[in-house]
Symmetry: C2
Subunit: 421 residues, 2 copies
Amino acid sequence: MAVTSWVPVAEGSHFPVQNLPYGVFSHAEEEPRVGVAIGDHVLDLAPLAASEWADFASVFAAPSLNPFLALGSRAWHAVRQWLTERLTDETYRALVESELIPLDQVRMHLPFEVADYVDFYASEHHARRLGRLFRPDEPPLPANWRHLPIGYHGRAGTVAVSGTPVIRPDGQRRTPGSTSPSFGPTAQLDLEAEIGFVIGTPTVRGQQVGVDDVREHVFGAVLVNDWSARDLQSWEARPLGPFLGKSFLTSISPWVVPLDALDGAMVAPPTQEPPPLSYLRGEHDFGLDLDLEVRLNGHVVARPQYAGMYWTPAQMLAHLTSNGASLRTGDLIASGTVSGPGEDECGSLIEITSGGSTPIVLPDGTTRSFLEDGDEVIVQATAPALDGARLGFGAVTGRVRPASHGSAPAPTGAPEPAVAP
Amino acid sequence: MAVTSWVPVAEGSHFPVQNLPYGVFSHAEEEPRVGVAIGDHVLDLAPLAASEWADFASVFAAPSLNPFLALGSRAWHAVRQWLTERLTDETYRALVESELIPLDQVRMHLPFEVADYVDFYASEHHARRLGRLFRPDEPPLPANWRHLPIGYHGRAGTVAVSGTPVIRPDGQRRTPGSTSPSFGPTAQLDLEAEIGFVIGTPTVRGQQVGVDDVREHVFGAVLVNDWSARDLQSWEARPLGPFLGKSFLTSISPWVVPLDALDGAMVAPPTQEPPPLSYLRGEHDFGLDLDLEVRLNGHVVARPQYAGMYWTPAQMLAHLTSNGASLRTGDLIASGTVSGPGEDECGSLIEITSGGSTPIVLPDGTTRSFLEDGDEVIVQATAPALDGARLGFGAVTGRVRPASHGSAPAPTGAPEPAVAP
């Protein structure tokens, strides 16, 4: 039977005691500090630590999780055990209850300072669909795709917390049929539903992290929406990859779910054929059984399953460090768009609408090829806990605002599909 | 006639009083702090400021330039004027002389904390040569190349100061003629001689930096050696661009040359045809007349001219922010390899040796297609000052060490050229 907390947790809450995700919150006029979500409350960790475990008081009074992340896996486990006891054993109620603040009274901040941001491309279904749209003259899956987890560096400085407005980016793009490019607001603003993994314990240059050592370095996971301007991206990306089509904003959820909370979600990944090279083969399964859900203006447009992702987070990390590249506390390693084989499992609009050629019809009768000004996107995910309970990541949300320089393009009922340059 | 300092400056020194580059040094057992190079000395700024201009004492006692960079262009100009007076007016000699430390007694550190690292691809000659080698079936210059400065994000966490050992990276690569990849030390370790521009004044998300506003944001410039593993790069880079072939190490010079010191080096860039879109057109020329020199084991292998770079730093910055991506203090924006049309103007070995097919013969009779263990690379650059003096960037150096996991590949007299996947 599932463990319960003396804190009331509503049926279906993302934050049962099996989760205990960490975030940075502020309350009233006070400074941002570290908290843990439980039900509809945030537990204010700095004062609790001050009275019970003074070593951690300053770590939890910090305005980011980085000092806690840097302490390493023994500290993470110890604190998790301490908090689990305090929240399940009724005898601690008097002590702890005064440090609970209703979630609707706090403001959430970026949970950690992002060091480097790397985005992978780990879904075969996403890679195939984008290959067909962006490179119609080539095989959809690049020759290297089944041999290594393809990834690239994104812009760490524009990773922002859920709820940050999505200002429609301007940019250079070449519209289909035109021979020369023009500059203006993107006409193909898209979302990408992803899971991101947060590095706690750093490494030194030259050190390779083995595929079975990932838990020594990865603290936890967040939801990621890697907003994309497809017209900018398709025009700029050869030969050095995506750049301004991505770098205007990447949103992450305010709560970091500890890897320990995802023990019940560990599953075998899909069969990898051909078998990867030995540095990408490990003893432990590191697929994750996460159910994602993408809503556009309240309407569910996709339910991707993370379990179908071809490359695991452990393989991504082993590959990322295989050249000796060092890790820093706060590195964010995202999966790439989570997409499955089904039409309802696409983690981006460019897949759902086949490059804009088959728009979605929303319940209000309007259609969408890509995002319009005012649209709101909400990405969520849930996972099984070891004891049968179910936990969640909260949400990463964003609403589209008009371009700051120039006007948004007119909505296009049936635009031409995104094409490669 | 050129201004001179009362500090002795040897003929040909990179650090006359016209330069005054900033760096972070440590002396004896003391903490790292900010200094300025003059001749063969470093001027210890924290104690000088403490006695003369207390507002700046803590800024210069910091172990990185970031606090100073964040103060903005008015502070940069004021401090430069103050230092110029102190170092040219003999009456300050008694005050200042005690804060001079011989350069050979200090250790240099990474001069600033790198926020995001972006690398451009601004030399047409480099882009054409690499296009021919990596994508022999396509036109050497991508269709977008003359319309926008192509760039991508690199790994900020592996930017290190000059002198950091270059550990030969392991990685996955597919050797020519083989159908499947293997893992091991790169056989195609290369250098890339570049200039990097350092952001001082940040922006907010949504703000576009105009092509004529670059001096409000860029503090100065450094030498960059963007070490590259060509076999890893050519196998991994489709479709998301370079990743592990670059991310193991990027070296920068310890001295940041203020943009104000480069006023005498500002020249018109090459004619841009077709004319770029208006957001990339400005009133001011921002080409830079810099002479680069690349030495391999002491032997000069290239003398690239920065003045021939197609895209200017001002255009790179305007493009980088055209989608509203924000800048942070410490962002590093590199030019990409500086290469000219001549055979002796190639800023990378892959160009000099045509992908390894025409090795260099060194004075000791050995040949090089790519770098071997023990090789040392030194990149330097000089520039004219406004008054006829000549100044320099110092140097960015690195020596190759064997791979940490596994042995280096046997030297190959005439390897097959690097080919695209």
